[in-house]
Amino acid sequence: MSTQQPLIIIGNGMVGHHLVEQLIERGAHRRYAITVFGEERHLAYDRVHLSEYFAGRDAESLALSTADYYAEHGIELRLDEAVIAINRDTGEVVTPRGRYPYHRLVLATGSTPFVPPIPGNDREGCLVYRTLDDLDAIRATAENAATGVVVGGGLLGLEAANALRGLDLDTAVVEFAPRLMPMQVDAEGGELLREKIEALGVQVLTERATQRIEDGEAGRHRMVFQDDKVLEADLIVFSAGIRPRDALARGSALEIGERGGVVIDDRCLTSDPAILAVGEVALWNNSIFGLVAPGYQMARAAADTLMADALDRAPETFGGADMSTKLKLLGVDVGAIGDAHGTQHPGARMFRYLDQIKQEYRKLVVSGDGKRLLGAMLVGDNGYYDTLMQYYAGGIELPQDPAALILPSSDGAPALGPDALPDSAMICSCHNVTKGDVCASIDAGACDLATVKDSTRASTGCGGCAALLKSVVDHELESRGVEVDRSLCEHFAHTRQELYDIVRVEGIKTFGELMEKHGNPETHRLGCDICKPAVASILASCFNEPITDAAHIPLQDTNDTFMANMQKNGTYSVVPRIAGGEITPDKLVVLGQVAQKYELYTKVTGGQRIDLFGARLEDLPAIWGELIEAGFETGHAYGKSLRTVKSCVGSTWCRYGVDDSVGMAIRLEHRYKGLRSPHKIKLAVSGCTRECAEAQSKDIGVIATEHGWNLYVCGNGGMRPRHAELFATDLDDEALIRTIDRVLMFYVRTADRLQRTSVWRENLEGGLDYLKAVILEDSLGIGEELERQMQAVVDTYACEWANAIQDPEKLKRFRSFVNDSRPDPDIIMTSERGQLRPA
């Protein structure tokens, strides 16, 4: 449309993208011809969760949107094209590829990490931590590095330090100030933080000013400090604060703050009313806001400014933002609310609590009359954050004795429930969602957390509000009498987890008994293909009776019934166990002979074993008779149970191997074989970090280290790949097995039906930290019980096929027809590449 005026947005970062969304919401794409320039190759992505890139997330999953979204709304997205100048006289921006006229212009160029002007700061291997490309560079450099240093001990510096540690570098943090995170914590908090971080093996050097960086001896670089002390490292990451990227604005003589930043007013207008600025490049009231939530607020205000005359309400303005933050850095909780140092309010009073044993520190800053919370500081436990934040943000009057709010587990502490919040309470500051908005969305029909998130977008920004949002949603749903239906199926008004507990606690051993006591009497109580296999699995996990016993056989899926995998023409595939992928030549010969005799198509599986296809129902017992005779046992390829433990050859053969991966794989496979679980489970063991067994794509991955075994959990290949997460390091054999016992049993106990460990883990409230607390610190006090349950399964293991072929009653089902001995005449095979396959 020729009447559309050109609107140019420079920068496709988090705030620039949010601005686009806000503009679309207001229909601005119909009024303006919008062009977005992005210097990075990538579409706007979630910088807040950038570090997850190292934990396995890729650029695509971090992306905030898609190119299609831009195209659909007629917005031109020019990535990998940086604006190099603004010409305000002609109303154009200039890029290396051309000149583009604008009617309105928005600067959303963000900031860059500050690299102190130290001689040598541009040496190869001196990097920053801001973009995906930065992370690629760090990863590449780390490949050939043993040590890493982060310059800067603030929020981002510690995040970078954690990343270096994750890349297996010996890591140190160098901070100019006398303590870590000087913005967020005071001397005492900083000291505690240092202790905690040093305990993780990260060296902390404070009050160090780097004078120069030169060639090192032990490492590639040597940093020389003011007192001539030195520190050597192979890789250096600068993270000494941020600097607004205001060069374009300077070049076009817009008003700039004394210490940088494009000056904006409440409407996000710069000194040139045709030009706006938002995000970390913008300076409001002499402050830069280095968090995403204030940036999003600016984006909303800017969108309103650009569409002011089309709004049917007063335009939103930007009036500053709260910089309260709650973080977990290197596994250490740090929280800062409002005036955490108590320096902005003369007459303010403080409460402080320090526990040097548990390493927790908390501080309250309250008004002179003791009625209002002005600020707070937390180190070691952020559990106090939400309640304090509500007092602070809601201006709620403090209780008689405010100290109770930071004392540990003082029963008197009035934890503010979600009902105490006023409707105006801000739940999600990223997306400006109040408690009232949440209630409105529930009243409009949202009946679970996911729908509320979808419709309000709450908790889809920095994620800091997730716990608060959930508690508000739960509370509101409950108060409206909504009961979320989590029934397994029409026969049981229980979740799998509840049924598991019922079976255990009441010692119920058959489906019939469970149905009689807990089934829905409105049905015929026959069960169905949802609840029967689920209950069969629970019974097997708990009591491990043979699945082909008369009481259990009607519950089984056909694969379990016939202990083989049904293929598309009704024949079965047979997979004997080959623990760890190790097989003697003699046994290999037997597999070949059996396959020849019964004309089975033979293929090697991804789990390092051999799959024999095309077995007829009536041949299964004979096939297994021969296999058992030769020393094979069932491979449970048909069951929701442990499948394989894949391994590399490890230290026995491989010149890099540091431990016997095959031996450990065989030990694990024999321990967990036969374990029935909510879904199949795959393990792998690698003999060194080269990871030839691909253990990090498994439910349980084990990798040998110089000092033992590293354990990874909840990975997945398949349809939705997920990298396993590092769970524990340098375990000895016994500790490894104990830990796996606990993780697997906890999964068996608490997962939903047909939920792989990856999805289970993603839905686990409290995430990996919670899982670690339960398993490694035994926070629920169930550790030994889980181990006992696993031991019971191990002790009751028996090969299901060996059990079945001794029992004529069980074998009578292995006939195509009960009244006729002929095989199914409709199964027709043809040959291809020298083997049979279904015609």
Binding site: E490, H491, T510, F511, G512, M515, E516, G519, T523, H524, R525, L526, G527, C528, D529, C531, K532, P533, A550, A551, H552, I553, P554, L555, Q556, D557, T558, N559, T561, F562, M566, K568, N569, G570, K812, R813, R815, S816, F817, V818, N819, D820, R822, D824, D826
Partner: protein, 138 residues
């Protein structure tokens, strides 16, 4: 007229002995081979005893499935394989059903109707127990 046709049809069918009760698997299925006027057929037989002594199933008979034996096509129209007898038996929305073991569609045991696809219906046969003998009308 309609009654007459129906009657005539019925008289043409005869009860044949198919197998023994011991060949059946309670609360599950087996397959049998029959010769009919239209040629041979594979039949899936499902046995839902209401006998409290039977293990493995719910013991209280519910109104609606006093019948204990059902016979359906063993041929699964969705996969083309003869596998219906190997599906899981259950009840859905008030009807006893079997789920195909390959692609999991449900078929009503009483009339063979597929619950997921109105256009698909399995053949059914009348079956009954006569002492220890299983009889089918075909």
């Amino acid at each position: 007229m309609t009654t007459a046709t129906a009657l005539k049809h019925e008289t043409e069918m005869t009860w044949q002995a198919l197998c023994r009760r011991a060949d059946l698997v309670p609360f599950s299925g087996v397959a049998a081979w029959i010769e009919t006027a239209e040629g041979p057929a594979q039949v899936a037989l499902f046995y839902l005893p209401c006998d409290p002594a039977t293990t493995g199933g719910p013991n209280t008979p519910q109104p609606g499935h006093e019948q204990t034996l059902y016979a359906l096509d063993n041929h699964d129209p969705f996969s083309g394989a003869n596998v219906i007898a190997r599906g899981i038996v259950g009840d859905l929305q008030g009807d006893p059903v079997v789920a195909s073991p390959l692609y999991k569609q449900h078929f009503r045991l009483t009339d063979g109707q597929c619950l997921e696809d109105d256009a698909v219906k399995l053949r059914t046969w009348a079956v009954r127990l006569d002492g220890e003998r299983v009889l089918i009308q075909a």
